[in-house]
């Protein structure tokens, strides 16, 4: 965490989460895997009387898949809920966690970056109002930004006040 390198007079301008579209893939995959594990349990029940070995096999497969999917789903959600974009009057930080597996912190100092470009490409991004912030002609980019034009405006004000 970058808390140890706070500048004197630095203060929070805006805190925003990444756009909710990032959860869609996770939810769809989790639903699919839960469905498959449910079918395996159903098969275990159907074959319990006639084919005991098949019943136990499918039960264990269903149980393994269910537990794996359940914990993976919640670990993903908990990680992604901590992802955020923090804008201060000195810099921008994009924090990206995956619990113990990954921790990415992108810091963009307004001393070095003087331009920011808000981009929304495609039907989905324009309909759902999310996009990408591009700093200094692709030196740094931040994706999944909700209402990127508004965020870019906040950043520009912070850059100009330096």
């Amino acid at each position: 965490m970058p808390s140890s390198s706070l500048e004197h007079g630095e203060q929070l301008e805006q805190l925003c989460d990444e756009h909710w579209i990032k959860y869609v893939g996770t939810v769809i995959l989790a639903t699919l895997l839960f469905g498959i594990s449910l079918l395996l349990f159903l098969l275990a029940g159907l074959s319990a009387h006639h084919y005991m070995w098949l019943s136990h096999l499918t039960f264990f497969a269903g149980l393994t898949l269910l537990l794996f999917t359940h914990h993976w789903f919640f670990m993903s959600l908990l990680s992604e809920l901590l992802d955020s974009i923090i804008i201060t009057n000195r810099r921008l930080m994009r924090i990206h966690f995956r619990l113990i597996f990954q921790e990415d912190i992108l810091e963009i100092s307004f001393d070095r970056m003087k331009t920011v470009d808000a981009q929304k490409h495609g039907l989905l991004q324009n309909l759902l109002h999310y996009g990408t912030l591009v700093f200094e002609s692709k030196l740094a980019t931040i994706t999944l930004v909700p209402h990127p034009n508004r965020v870019a405006h906040v950043i520009q004000k912070a850059m100009l006040s330096r």
Partner: protein
């Protein structure tokens, strides 16, 4: 339920199911600690920036749901294995 204790194979299967459930509950506790540590550091960063109220801890709703679902799955699947209902 008597069939669970009828053979070494069934006993081993029961032990495996219980082991998996125990591992699942342990993973729940580990995730809780990890998430608390991460969100604590995150909250500290915001406090250093002067505005801790800007962030509402998402775990306050999600963790109880995660806990309840994990316990429910543990009870349901263990009961299913112990009673082994026959659909056909």
């Amino acid at each position: 339920m008597d069939s669970l204790l009828s053979s070494p194979g069934m006993l081993a299967a029961l032990a495996l199911v219980l082991l998996m459930q125990a591992a699942s509950l342990l993973l729940l506790l580990v995730n809780r600690q990890l998430f608390r540590a991460q969100s604590g550091r995150y909250k500290k960063l915001l406090a250093d920036l002067g505005d801790v109220t800007a962030w509402k801890n998402p775990g306050r709703i999600l963790f109880p749901v995660y806990f309840l679902l994990t316990v429910s799955i543990t009870i349901a699947t263990t009961t299913l294995f112990v009673w082994q209902p026959h659909i056909l």
